[in-house]
Symmetry: C2
């Protein structure tokens, strides 16, 4: 096979490297930037795993391949991948393609450096400082600390997994109270207790297990029917934990839960934390970006009273995976004391610049990807005002969707949303009653109980994915069987896309 | 200011997005691919932090900027960034620009998905499986498990920070022995002890603190003068820990230490682990890629007896940050049991495909970046044979450097290297004795004691960085004062670059 002649490695041949990269970039523009964002193309190209394996020819062999083959592989990888930038991709808490953010990511990848020292990342050490300062200012802090973390929770479902930011917060809180912990470990400490709402406990539990606290240390606080933590129950749980001999040390509140998009009442929770001297962490991974909106930031009132905030601009702001900030109110260098090696004699104090700029010791995982440029560049291009408009537009479109949904027979809201998560059931024709008739909600409850309604979503999901027309997630939640969760996150969405969503569900489910 | 008129967000305008990205890509090709890899350009453009802040105008404002301004910002970011792809960048354990790997990274960024479920990352779920299978096969395992982790340790210096892969290994080992730990935490367990060599204990200690074990749980095993763990001392430390009432559970050996490039004797260490029933983790982040070389893989003999292996192809293989694999011999689904939520009722078991393909539950941080494509594409293009040649060439060039260095008066090896780390002192003219003369090594030791030799490296480092001619790291190590550590990692290096390194140090230090 002449065409499978091993390719020269291109090492030290910038002309050949450039030519290859030009070709690949052409493919990216064609297949992702152009087709991937076009509503007239498919959002995904479903294949069964075994078939896809054959199509991709994944095996890694001893022989290299020709440039032509490599370019075909690039095309195939893109072709069979889900287009998360597509205007009909509603499946996750991120969607869309921000060209400035993507530009920042491409520059980041080409520079391929680590956010460790000023020596090897002068631009990004200073840039991260400024971006974190700006995010802190939006929280309401004029000083503090912070770091970009590798954790994030972009996927759908109740089980969210602990983000690294949240784990850092828990680790910092326990270190602040018991600095001994770092050296002597948890066996030297009393049993600890941390608190989070029922809506969020799986995420926090995963982190608690990793940190050696054990999942039992996580106490569940009740949430109301809208998914918001009940401060009075938090108070109760704290007393209960203390009565059982545990030492409460942290409350993790959530601004924007994954499924319902609920915002915990931060002021009331901060009051409880203050009374008991507990660290208040706010997981605002999803909802943090609302702080950019003058109109909607009241949803996070009280966040300035937190000790730590996790905020992922890769979600609502479309900065691109990953962009996950942990912000701290602390000004005592807690981050460095807690995660640093404190083996100061090992640091090169004889460097010719201020070694305080070497931020690598702040984090556990040490060398870090550069995650600030994509957000910085996007912000420079659009300004805070442009980003604010984007947030406001997402709220407005979610509102439009809710109103349209209410007008239609086949759709039923799980609840009135306060964020851009719109949770609803599709009720197929054969199950429909007359909306507004006296027995309507009774009828709906019966369909739920008999599990006939929850069976609808998986069928529709399979149909839309096989067709490639759109992607939207579903899940059960609490006592509610499977429902769809629409996320209005893609900044390119219009009312037409909302209409499409409803019409397409009608089309897909007309025979059910 | 007409030119600072806020830019339209480009949302929903693929033509404008495409035009911007074309322009940015042109800048990347110009400034990084072409100039950044050219020996006739500077490797860095040193500025004092305050001056650089002014030059970059980092502040994030309310107003957006024009496209022209944004493109200038892209140029400035690249201009003032260190070119890690430059043939004179010897500062870290990674260097160079592999165009196929960069192509993979650009595609990854443009597709912007999470390696969580088959639903949203069908190509990458299958691809990761194949890449991990291949890496495991090189370790010597025909079955097993694994995952790509966000951790990595690309920076220079003795203090390395715990990679996430290493922390995962420790967490898995303790869970395997005490599954209760996940729920009940470390307070329910006896005091645990883990072992690593003196060369590596800072990395592991950082992880032990985070995992709640405390740094005291890390027992230091002596290393010989070449930096290799002494198995007899490991045996001694295990007995000592047991005598003190601790339960040994894990040994972390290293294949390729950061400074000296030392390989621990894995067969002998595996014997000790087997005798005591301990989990053997091999941190082969740096040295793992040697497994590709038939000629040199004997350095890792015994690695197939490990329980877990950490391997970062972003280092010697230049796959690009980050690419960090944790490989496991386990076939009992330990990864999922340990890190998963075990809240099986939360998983959507009614999906229309095999949910075993949804790998997100394997990891603590949940949603994960796609880290497999860059390595896969590079491997496809070059074949295992191409990558093997690259590893062999790095060894050969390191050998060439050593021989050249021995010929010169002003250079003194710290030790004969066995890997591609070449550690040496530059002895400036005023301090030189006659090499080979009877009192030569005595004289060198005296210069060390008086700290006159260790003062040389920081001065030369400052000079080379200000000049932009090259970057090479230095540090003290054990009883040795500051010395240079040359890393032969950039696949584009030639003998001329080795000669340059030596000549440039002579030039920079001629007046010392």
């Amino acid at each position: 096979m002449a065409d499978s002649k091993p390719l020269l490695s291109l090492d030290g041949d910038p002309m050949a490297a450039e030519a290859l990269l030009q070709d690949v970039f052409g493919i990216v523009v064609d297949e992702v930037v152009r087709k991937g964002t076009s509503a007239s193309e498919k959002v995904c190209e479903w294949k069964e795993p075994e078939e896809l394996k054959q199509l991709l020819d994944l095996e890694l062999r001893g022989e290299g391949e020709s440039q032509q083959q490599i370019l075909e592989r690039c095309r195939a990888v893109i072709h069979y991948s889900v287009k998360t930038c597509h205007p009909r991709f509603f499946n996750q808490l991120f969607s869309g393609l921000d060209p400035h953010a993507l530009a920042g990511r491409i520059i980041t990848e080409s520079l391929n450096t680590s956010q460790y020292t000023y020596e090897i990342a002068p631009v990004f050490v200073l840039m991260e400082e400024e971006v974190l300062r700006k995010l802190r200012a939006l929280v309401g802090w004029s000083s503090g600390d912070g770091v970009f973390c590798p954790g994030r929770r972009p996927f759908f479902g109740l089980f969210k997994g602990g983000s690294i930011s949240n784990m850092y917060a828990v680790n910092l809180a326990r270190y602040q109270r018991y600095p001994d912990c770092k050296q002597r470990g948890l066996r030297a400490l009393p049993p600890l207790a941390l608190f989070t709402s029922k809506e969020c406990h799986y995420s926090i539990k995963k982190g608690a297990a990793f940190l050696g606290l054990g999942t039992d240390s996580v106490r569940m606080v009740k949430a109301d029917e809208r998914g918001k933590m009940i401060p009075e129950d938090l108070e109760r749980q704290i007393s209960l934990a203390e009565a059982e001999g545990a030492v409460p040390f942290l409350v993790s509140a959530t601004s924007g839960t994954t499924v319902l998009g609920a915002f915990d009442p931060l002021e009331a929770i901060a009051d409880v934390c203050q009374r008991h001297g507990l660290w208040l962490h706010v997981d605002a991974a999803w909802g943090g970006s609302v702080l950019l909106s003058q109109t909607h930031r009241h949803l996070l009132n009280g966040i300035q009273r937190a000790d730590s905030v996790a905020w992922n601009p890769h979600k609502l702001l479309s900065a691109g995976l990953q962009c996950s900030a942990l912000l701290l109110r602390d000004t005592s260098n807690l981050l460095k004391r807690c995660h640093g090696s404190q083996a100061s004699y090992l640091f090169q104090q004889d460097k010719f610049y201020d070694v305080a700029l070497d931020t690598g010791d702040k984090v556990v995982q040490c060398g870090r990807r550069v995650d600030c440029l994509k957000l910085w560049l996007m912000w420079k291009a659009q300004g805070g005002q442009g980003l604010e408009r984007r947030v406001d537009q997402a709220f407005a479109l979610a509102r439009y969707l809710v109103e349209e949904l209410k007008k239609r027979e086949g759709f039923e809201l799980v609840m009135e949303p306060e964020f851009v998560n719109v949770c609803f059931w599709f009720v197929p024709p054969s199950l429909r009653g007359k909306k507004g008739s006296p027995d309507y909600s009774e009828r709906l409850a019966k369909l739920q109980r008999e599990a006939r309604l929850p069976q609808v979503a998986p069928v529709l999901k399979e149909r839309m994915v096989r067709k490639g027309s759109m992607m939207i997630g579903y899940q059960p939640h609490g006592s509610c069987g499977n429902f769809f969760r629409m996320v209005v996150a893609n900044p390119a969405l219009t009312r037409a896309d909302m209409d499409f969503l409803l019409n397409e569900l009608e089309r897909l489910g007309q025979d059910l």
